[in-house]
């Protein structure tokens, strides 16, 4: 393909553009596009870059709040955490590339999300990962787990940013499409945040980082298409990550950012040079002219089309203050990075590209953004599944066995095999991480006595059963997890992973989930500040379970007051905050013990969530509790076992609730927290709860080396731990 290539309807279709879309291009240009121009329109209007199926729905989210400095629309969201500190964070998917090449796909996912964060002036301080694999027995699963985990660790460890937490699910619904969602949290000066809007006329545009090769051309369009059996053949050259260069890029960018040399900066992510230059120009309302001969190239004879669409990693684009060019060169050269001035801003409002002294592209920028398709796809929100009454659910005769099976089931079993491959401590500010099995990771703000808490959550089986309720639940669970460590929840990022939006039932899951999420955000004053949409996660017409992963961030203002689930002590009383009905629909018990995946998911009462959570946070601030854990997957029994493992001490659950035993132990009612309270605090904890309308009951005692529940199980802590630890090492051996 070259500039003389005749644009035929086939070529237009191969670029994923519809006939109507092509007509718009013809109209805006007043002529036929050449191949470079067509390629640029095609990536800019792909689902991945234009959000054409999702845009109108994302617009409903609560995005503003007292602490929001920058909401969605920039590379990442920015929140204020006092004292002039800002936290910048975002989550992103790298699902398709990770399925094709798990190590590099996951590694470059981590690299990409870090760039989104340091582009805005933040030093990355923590990484999280939310992973969904196919069923453990599927032939590909083991290899995918191995590669993805090694890739995440390989990249994050080398760059030197701790990977502090995450979540991992296994389900047959992901056999053909795994999900690899990575989140990065960075720390910046609130008054030195960098944005992508180019400004001025005649200002130099710098290219920094790795050279451009033919990697991942059309990655963005690929991420916007379903898989079929030929996908392996169609794949573009896989992008290979170079964490060493990323590390240099971080240090160099932060060094330059400490001067006043940068006017605007944008990383080259999906659709590389195309989307980065167009976004900078569009946001700033300026034109851009680039000389492609100046682009550092790794391979010979690269065409303009290839350079503009390449997704080579570890590259940045920036507009430099005139007169500061020398300083920029000096810093980038010190860090041994490729750097080149490749163009300048103009007042034409057009993107003009030159190559070999010829003009090879000349298009107006505004239409690329303004006229990007914004579809109103038909949708049908599925009806929620029928409510299942606990009394209609078979009760196990052997609770010891049921507990062991649940604690060693793929979703509940220990993920140690994964997180021991992640450096969780580098930077020396990790206060709590996966290591404790805790709800939220805690990362201290360097040199200060405050910290951020971070949690990622989604319960796909709930979203599948009822997108609206499931959407609410994802947001509520992160809020609850942040609360568990004593943080004030501030804002979320999300990664919305769904199937093919052209199918109304999938679009219905999407719309329903967003409505539920948004309602929770509003109830908690917990806005969405950044996010990412990944559609077409489907193989041969079978979609993944809808998976809107949510990453929440909160602030622990004073590290003298926080709690984890590790602190339960001999003699402590276990108190359950929140109401228990014994909800077994869509529960782990139903799935793991009875092999049934059905029933309406537990309802989320946002007022109760707020009331209970605010109370728990108060207990932590008043140092009334030694350990806190929320009840989620597997209910009270699982929460209790996890608390026992973390504190390395046994406990006894006593019957206090009137529902059937399996519903009491394994029901997944929301808005609940298990707290360990010292003897002399029990009365005040319960009476104050009452006064505040919060339900609180004594449900057991800490002590011994066994895990017991009245009339149900009695197993040794060590024995259960051994089985809890065994699942992944056995799968991976």
């Amino acid at each position: 393909m070259n500039i003389k290539t005749k644009i035929t309807p086939e070529i237009v279709a191969e670029h994923g553009l519809s006939a109507e879309e092509y007509d718009i291009i013809l109209d805006r240009l007043g002529r036929e596009p050449n191949i470079n121009e067509l390629g640029i329109f095609s990536v800019m209007w792909s689902e991945h870059c234009s959000y054409k199926s999702s845009r109108r729905h994302l617009g409903k989210f609560l995005t503003k709040g007292d602490r929001v400095i920058q909401g969605p629309g920039e590379n990442a969201g920015v929140i204020d955490i006092d004292d002039g500190d800002a936290i910048i964070f975002k989550m992103e998917s790298h699902n398709h590339p990770s399925f094709i090449e798990p190590y590099q796909g996951a590694a470059t996912g981590v690299g990409g999300i870090m760039r989104d964060v340091f582009t805005m002036g933040a030093r990355p301080i923590a990484l999280m990962n939310a992973l969904r694999f196919g069923e453990p027995t599927h032939w590909k699963t083991k290899q995918l787990v191995n590669g993805v985990v090694a890739g995440i660790g390989g990249y994050g460890n080398c760059v030197g940013v701790p990977t502090v937490g995450g979540e991992t699910n296994f389900h047959k619904g992901y056999n053909g499409n795994i999900l690899v969602n990575a989140m990065c949290v960075g720390l910046a000066d609130a008054d030195n945040v960098f944005y992508s809007a180019a400004k001025g006329v005649g200002n130099p545009i710098f290219y920094v980082g790795s050279k451009t090769g033919r990697d991942g051309i059309h990655g963005a369009t690929m991420a916007s298409a379903e898989f079929d059996d030929d996908s392996e053949e169609k794949r573009p050259t896989v992008q290979v990550g170079d964490p060493f260069t990323e590390k240099l890029l971080i240090e160099a960018c932060l060094e330059l950012m400490a001067t006043d040399a940068i006017i605007a900066i944008q990383d080259m992510g999906a659709a590389g040079l195309t989307s980065s230059s167009i976004e900078m120009a569009d946001k700033g309302g300026v034109g851009i002219s680039l000389n492609l001969d100046k682009v550092p190239q790794r391979e010979e004879n690269m065409t303009p089309y290839e350079m503009m669409l390449s997704e080579s990693q570890e590259r940045m684009l920036m507009v430099i203050q005139p007169g500061k060019e020398k300083l920029a060169y000096e810093i980038f050269e010190k860090w041994e990075l490729d750097v080149a001035k490749i163009g300048k801003t103009t007042d034409t409002g057009r993107l003009v590209l030159r190559h070999n002294r010829k003009k090879v592209c000349d298009i107006p920028i505004a239409p690329l953004a303004d006229d990007a398709p914004n579809l109103d796809r038909p949708y049908e929100i599925p009806a929620s599944l029928p409510v299942i009454d606990a009394s209609d659910v078979h009760e196990t005769q052997d609770y010891d066995d049921a507990l062991v099976r649940i604690m060693s089931s793929p979703d509940i079993a220990s993920k140690r095999w994964i997180w021991e491959q992640y450096d969780r401590h580098v930077m020396a500010d990790t206060v709590d991480s996966s290591q404790s099995g805790g709800d939220a990771a805690i990362v201290r703000i360097h040199g200060k006595n405050k910290a951020v808490a971070i949690s990622t959550d989604c319960t796909p089986r709930y979203v599948q059963a009822d997108p609206y309720m499931g959407g609410k639940q994802c947001v509520a669970e992160t809020w609850r997890n942040l609360t568990c460590v004593g943080a004030d929840p501030i804002a979320i990022t999300d990664c919305l992973n769904f199937g093919n939006p052209e199918r109304p039932e999938i679009m219905g899951q999407f719309v329903g989930a967003i409505e539920g999420m948004n309602e929770a955000c509003r109830a908690f004053d917990y806005p969405v500040v950044s996010g990412n949409v990944s559609l077409y996660n489907e193989t041969n017409g079978v979609a993944i379970p809808p998976t809107p992963a949510v990453g929440g961030v909160g602030l622990i203002p004073d590290l003298d007051y926080f709690t984890t689930l590790t602190g339960a002590k001999d003699g402590d009383t276990l108190v359950l905050i929140g109401d228990t009905q014994g909800w077994l629909g869509s529960s782990i018990y139903l799935r793991e013990i009875l092999r049934r995946e059905e029933g309406a998911p537990p309802p989320v009462d946002l007022e109760a969530e707020k009331r209970n959570g605010d109370y728990v946070r108060k207990l932590i601030r008043n140092k009334r509790v030694n350990a806190v854990h929320d009840c989620s997957d597997g209910g009270l029994a699982v929460a209790a076992c996890e608390m026992a493992f973390a504190g390395n001490i046994g406990l006894q659950l006593s019957r206090a609730i009137g529902c059937p035993t399996h519903a009491w132990l394994f029901g997944e009612d929301q808005a609940r927290y298990l707290v360990a309270v010292e003897e002399n605090s029990v009365n005040p904890v319960i009476s104050t709860a009452k006064a505040k309308g919060v339900s609180a009951q004594i449900v057991g005692k800490v002590g011994g080396d066994r895990l017991m529940a009245d009339g149900a199980f009695d197993v040794s802590l060590a024995g259960l731990r051994e089985k809890h630890e065994r699942f992944l090492p056995e799968l991976m051996s």
């Binding site: 590099q104 290979v240 060493f244």
Partner: protein, 80 residues
Amino acid sequence: MKAIIHVGLKPGVLDPQGRAISRSLNDLGFEEVAAARQGKVIELDLTGDDSTAAKARVTEMCEKLLANTVIESYRVEIED
């Protein structure tokens, strides 16, 4: 019998390691080094003595385990 398998990155795939090696050699004063690539060699000791059959088996090993064919290419030699 012995099998010797050379595994290297396919052309066009980024080789950050090769790049770091050539830079480092240049820094040490070896300016004649224009580029470097790093690959691996795996040597297998095999039982049996049918080298044609062995070649087919080793190729299968490469596809299944030894090479990542998405980004790497490989070459098999059998020595008696």
